[in-house]
């Protein structure tokens, strides 16, 4: 086991940090941005090569692993970037890369790498609480001629409002199917909304949407395996993103304790706060370590071990995020609860990250199941 960070990783992270420092001024982080601005920034991220990090070189990408992307995600989290890096560059790109035919890869991955296409994952369904098994899905395909019709509803589609296409999970006669559906398909209605942390989210309604056979990416066992893998990948990405956000929360709290005076001395001189700050830092460092473990597991480990380690990382990060968020607010006092203060925006980002692809309870159960499976 080796946690050394290579020079290449460091350089990539530094480049992203420069981008973030320029593009996301501290005082505007966490505020909603216009669709135009989101679109423009996505293009800038493509120029930096970020949108193609998961994409093969054949399709114009650089075929990096999660370990390489960890620093990218930490920086994006630290800057509260609302761009669809997770949904498009991590989740959708990796699914199409892993499952797509050469034709599908050409069709979808090349434009993703060039920043011309944003693709979101449509997985969750209303009323289903982290239920990811194909058989239970309400979204379903019915045969029609050579192709299919897709009907049903998908919820919590992160970055859905801006997406040009969706990777959709549905069932056909109880068998899981993964397919790509363009956002402008006839019969697809998109209801846009916002997340707690002012990002874009959508509910999709499919009403007999025509699906050609060559839109299918995978089915059955292969689809279930790919879905588990991409959820682990997304979870590792969420860990890295959360570590970035927590780093900033701890840093801002530490600075506040140094400068804020109460009862005639800096807050940082109060031992009770000192000890709690140390516990925040320990939680952050444990999260940083487990985020790296999750990234390495995604790149290296066979499935049961990968899922187990990623779940452990999500639990570690999720608990740390709760602790750090609460303490950062408490130590900032009422100021920490204002919209003007950055603290709240970071807290909300962490709250959303905790809930994507399974909250702490779900991850604990996943850890137990995958431990039993590995035994």
């Amino acid at each position: 086991m080796d946690f050394s960070i290579s020079d290449e990783q460091q350089q990539l992270r530094d480049a992203v940090r420069r981008f973030c420092d320029g593009e996301y001024p501290l005082e505007r982080r966490g505020q909603r941005v216009t669709a135009d601005r989101r679109s423009k920034r996505w293009g800038m991220m493509a120029e930096l090569g970020l949108t193609g990090l998961t994409v093969s070189e054949a399709c114009g990408g650089s075929a990096q692993g999660m370990v390489e992307q960890m620093g990218v995600l930490e920086e994006l989290g630290r800057a509260l970037s609302p761009e669809p890096y997770l949904s498009t560059a991590v989740i959708s790109a990796s699914l199409i890369q892993a499952l797509g035919t050469a034709k599908q890869q050409d069709q979808w991955l090349a434009p993703i790498a060039m920043g011309q296409l944003r693709v979101a994952l449509a997985l969750d369904e209303p009323q289903a609480r982290y239920a990811y098994q194909g058989a239970g899905m309400a979204c379903h395909l019915t045969r029609e001629g050579e192709g299919y019709r897709l009907s049903g509803e998908k919820s919590l589609v992160l970055d859905g409002p801006d997406a040009d296409a969706f990777v959709v999970a549905a069932q056909h006669e109880g068998i899981l199917q993964l397919l790509v559906v363009p956002a402008n398909a006839a019969g697809l209605t998109r209801i846009a909304g916002t997340t707690l942390d002012a990002r874009e989210i959508a509910t999709l309604r499919f009403d007999e949407v025509a699906i050609s056979a060559d839109s299918l990416l995978a089915e059955g066992e292969a689809a279930e395996r790919a879905l588990q893998a991409v959820r682990d990948r997304a979870s590792a990405a969420l860990c890295a993103e959360s570590v970035g956000a927590m780093t900033e929360l701890v840093e801002q709290t530490r600075e506040f304790l140094k400068v804020r005076q109460q009862f005639g001395k800096p807050l940082g001189r109060f031992q009770a706060l000192q000890h709690r700050l140390v516990d925040m830092v320990i939680a952050l460092e444990q999260s940083r370590s487990m985020s790296a473990v999750a990234a390495m597991a995604v790149d290296e480990a066979e499935s049961a071990r990968r899922t187990r380690l990623v779940a452990a990382a999500r639990v570690t990060v999720g608990k740390a995020a709760r602790l750090i968020a609460k303490e950062a607010i408490q130590m900032h006092g009422a100021m920490g609860m204002t919209d003007e203060c950055q603290i709240g925006h970071y807290v909300k980002r962490l709250m959303v990250a905790e809930r994507l692809f399974g909250d702490i309870s779900y991850q604990l159960e996943t850890f137990e199941k995958s431990t039993a499976a590995a035994a």
Binding site: Y130, I191, T194, I201, F270, G333, A334
Partner: protein, 393 residues
């Protein structure tokens, strides 16, 4: 000692319960039970019912319109109204200023202000905290300089709850700049319409705007608006802060939110989840213990480890418990707590993506609950105070 309430107390409890059931507007009740935003009109509607019944100021003496209840009756009233989904008494005139005026005000002040407070015609804002001072009230910098029959007030107050609902302000000001902290402070009453006063709402991270800043720029306050003696304001402020004793632990509110947890668990099909059930159990037991402690404080010949610090301890545990309940509610929400818009905080929310899904409000409720350990003297300050009582001598 007696486990049961007396038959008279039980009858009183039933009377309060029946009153709430009969008189509380169902729309207001729904907002309270679902943690949604209340308008001023909602509060006034309920307070007016209480006023008409003679129950609006349980903490005031009878000759000023209090109902003359025992401490147990006050406790039962708090519990039953909150459990029944009624709005809390947030009006500072009722909770804070009234008792101070009754104890220290002139006959003219009492006559002028108290009846309007009871009728909810007049709402008072509290001007204590200042930027940069936080819990350190004694280091305030707002000044009042005597000029003939007026004080000229300059300064900046912050974290003033519900000032946008209010027409009046009670305020701590420094009348002797050379005095030590906690001395040279006076307690002034003002009309918020006085020239030079500006109220600015503070937007909060969960979308709320209950808090405000109050800017005071050469505000002329008539000297008859001084409460008690000049430079003795700290005494009155301490009296005010120490006055509210029942209710500080928030038992009724915690019970009401625990009912909400159970309702949501049932609605979400999570009633059989042993892990979440165990957390409900642990919180229920903590609530029982807190309630027993709140009631024990009312009994005679009690032994306490830190006499005088009971209110601080109830505040600390009461707020931590309420926060834990709100955290559990937020967990019950699951992924449904991801989408949010401020519309979700209104009973007739119009957000098309969220619709009427109650769970979308739970993240905001959780964020809002973080204030409980900050306001009214942070829990750190409460622990400092308690430790001083434990370790002196």
């Amino acid at each position: 000692m007696r486990l049961e309430f007396t038959p008279e107390e039980e009858a009183f409890r039933q009377e309060v319960r029946a009153f709430v059931e009969a008189e509380l507007d169902p729309a207001i009740k729904a907002k309270v039970e679902r943690g949604l935003r209340l308008e001023k009109a909602d509060y006034v509607a309920w307070y007016t019912k209480l006023y008409e019944k003679g129950w609006i100021t349980p903490g005031w003496p009878e000759d000023h319109g209090g109902p003359g209840w025992t401490p147990i009756q006050k406790y039962l009233f708090d519990e039953e109204t909150l459990l029944g989904g009624a709005p809390r008494i947030i009006a500072s005139g009722i909770n804070m200023l009234g008792p101070v005026l009754i104890a220290f005000g002139t006959p003219e002040q009492k006559e002028k202000y108290l009846p309007a407070i009871r009728r909810s015609e007049s709402w008072w804002a509290q001007g204590f905290s200042e930027p940069g001072a936080g819990s350190d009230l004694a280091s305030m910098r707002t000044t009042a300089v005597r000029e003939g029959n007026h004080y000229i007030v300059n300064g900046h107050k912050i974290w003033t709850s519900y000032a946008h609902f209010c027409d009046k302000l009670f305020c701590l000001v420094k009348t002797d700049k050379d005095a030590k902290p906690q001395e040279g402070i006076s307690f002034l009453l003002m009309d918020l319409g006085t020239p030079g006063i500006e109220v600015r709402p503070i937007k909060l991270y969960e979308g709320g705007n209950d808090l405000n800043e109050v800017f005071l720029d050469n505000v002329r306050v008539p000297v008859e608006n001084l409460v008690g003696e000049e430079n003795k304001g700290w005494t009155y402020a301490k009296y005010l802060l120490g006055h509210e004793r029942t209710g500080i632990a928030g038992i009724g509110a915690s019970k009401q939110q625990l009912l909400r947890v159970k309702r949501l668990l049932a609605e979400q099909g999570l009633a059989a989840d042993l892990h979440i059930q165990r957390r409900v159990t642990e919180l229920e037991i903590e609530l029982l213990a807190l309630e027993a402690t709140g009631l024990r404080i009312l009994g005679e010949n009690q032994i306490f480890s830190a006499p005088g610090a009971e209110a601080s301890m109830l505040k600390v545990r009461g707020t931590e418990l309420r926060q834990a309940i709100f955290e559990l509610l937020y967990e019950v929400a699951g992924p449904a707590a991801i989408p949010f818009s401020e519309e979700a905080m209104f009973l007739e929310g119009e957000d098309p993506l969220i619709g009427d899904d109650e769970r979308a409000s739970l993240a905001a409720n959780y964020l809002d609950s973080r204030k409980l350990s900050i306001y009214g003297g942070t829990n750190e300050v409460q622990r400092n105070v308690t430790a001083q009582m434990l370790l002196r001598g």
